[in-house]
């Protein structure tokens, strides 16, 4: 199975800053796999995500998407191949839910009938059929996140990037959306600081600590890890019970 994304010794220093946010990261994402990037605030996980869709470029090393360095990709074409979901969903407030969802297929030049059919399909997938003509402001937080996920999936992207997509949700809605996400079986990088979410959703969990990749393992092995940062996260799990 070919790697959809490959980080090759990637480091990143933000412009005008001295400290590296990400150091020498090497990591692959295989087709059909969800890799969770776990870490505290400032560990570099969001930066890693933005290096994949070309919102940022590595200071050194290379990020390959479908075998091609992000620097060689046409920046617009690269972004249109990748679905991206952020915490606040980033829905366009002046577009209805269905127009928001229809946007990526439209940007990809789909035919109007195909866009229409796909939008209806996506609305059904995330259970928002009755909210097609509402505006984002008229939705609950959970519904907005659903719409955000539907929009990211709409153009059938080869790859999904999710940056704490369920972070702002109440625990009940959160669990429901996590279960739905598992059913999607997409190739995805999923960023979270929640160890429970990481173990539940990741085929592998990559733990970032102050810009370094501390541990990368499947959930079962991760729980046996002796790395101090991994222990710190696992302790959280035990304290919750």
């Amino acid at each position: 199975m070919a790697a959809v994304v490959e980080f090759r010794q990637v480091s990143y220093t933000p412009p005008g800053q001295a400290r590296e946010v990400l150091r020498n990261l090497s990591l692959t994402l295989e087709s059909g796999e969800t890799v969770v990037l776990l870490g505290r605030s400032g560990s570099g996980k969001t930066t890693a995500l933005k290096l994949v869709n070309g919102l940022l470029f590595p200071t050194s090393g290379n990020v390959l998407v479908e075998g091609k360095s992000t620097r060689e990709w046409n920046p617009v074409a690269l972004k249109r191949r990748i679905g991206y979901v952020i915490q606040e969903a980033g829905l366009f407030p002046h577009f209805t839910v269905s127009r928001n969802i229809a946007l990526p297929p439209r940007l990809n030049g789909w035919a109007p009938e195909k866009i229409q059919a796909r939008t209806v399909e996506m609305l059904r997938t995330v259970g928002l059929e009755d909210y097609a003509d509402r505006y984002p402001r008229q939705l609950s937080g959970g519904q907005r996140q659903r719409a955000g996920v539907a929009r990211a999936l709409a153009a059938e992207p080869a790859l999904l990037l999710l940056d704490e997509p369920f972070g702002a949700l109440d625990p009940v809605t959160r669990l429901a959306l996590q279960r739905e996400f598992l059913k999607l079986k997409k190739t995805a990088f999923f960023v979270t600081h929640d160890i429970r979410e990481a173990l539940q959703l990741g085929a592998r969990v990559a733990l970032l600590h102050q810009g370094d990749l501390a541990v990368v393992a499947d959930p079962a092995s991760f729980q046996q890890s002796q790395h101090p940062e991994a222990r710190a996260f696992l302790e959280v799990l035990q304290s919750v019970g």
Partner: protein, 205 residues
Amino acid sequence: MWADLAREALSLTLEHLFLVSVSVLLAALIAIPAAISLARHERLRRPIVGIVNILQTIPSLALFGFLIPLPVLGGIGKRTAIIALVLYALLPILRNTLVGITGIDAAVRESAVAMGMTPMQILREVELPLAAPSIFAGLRVATVTTIGTAAIAAAIGAGGLGVFIFRGIASVDNAQILAGAVPAALMAIAADEGFSWIERKLSPP
């Protein structure tokens, strides 16, 4: 005599309307593109908004006076008046457009870029629609103040309702002053209401 006054009132009102619409239109054609580019160049923002701000603080009668002796731009008449009115109308339009664009939620902007929208698509489909209520608020303020300032333009021979007002003051004739002031006030109220209506229509629910 009343028929004459009414006829003159109508023609001066139209003249006033002409001065205001041409000035606001020109100001918008300068200020909106300028604000769009300033939204992308943070370093230029303060100095340019500063200059436009200073323009606004010059008393209008003084600005008209300054412009008269200038070659090409100056002289007596409508052209000079329109130049001054445009300079005054710049600030509210520039500032409101800038606030409208820079005030867009960072998450919305990031997701537009991340979806692979081109800068032109972002301008057309995200920035301008979301900034539209604010842009129209700027046009409203510019129009209402221009209606007032244009009355002073009669002092340099630009015509408009100011003609009545200055004549009324000179001849201590309240009827003449009112014949200038009332249509100007009604025009300002109508502009205020009209633009407010557009603003509301353009705001997302």
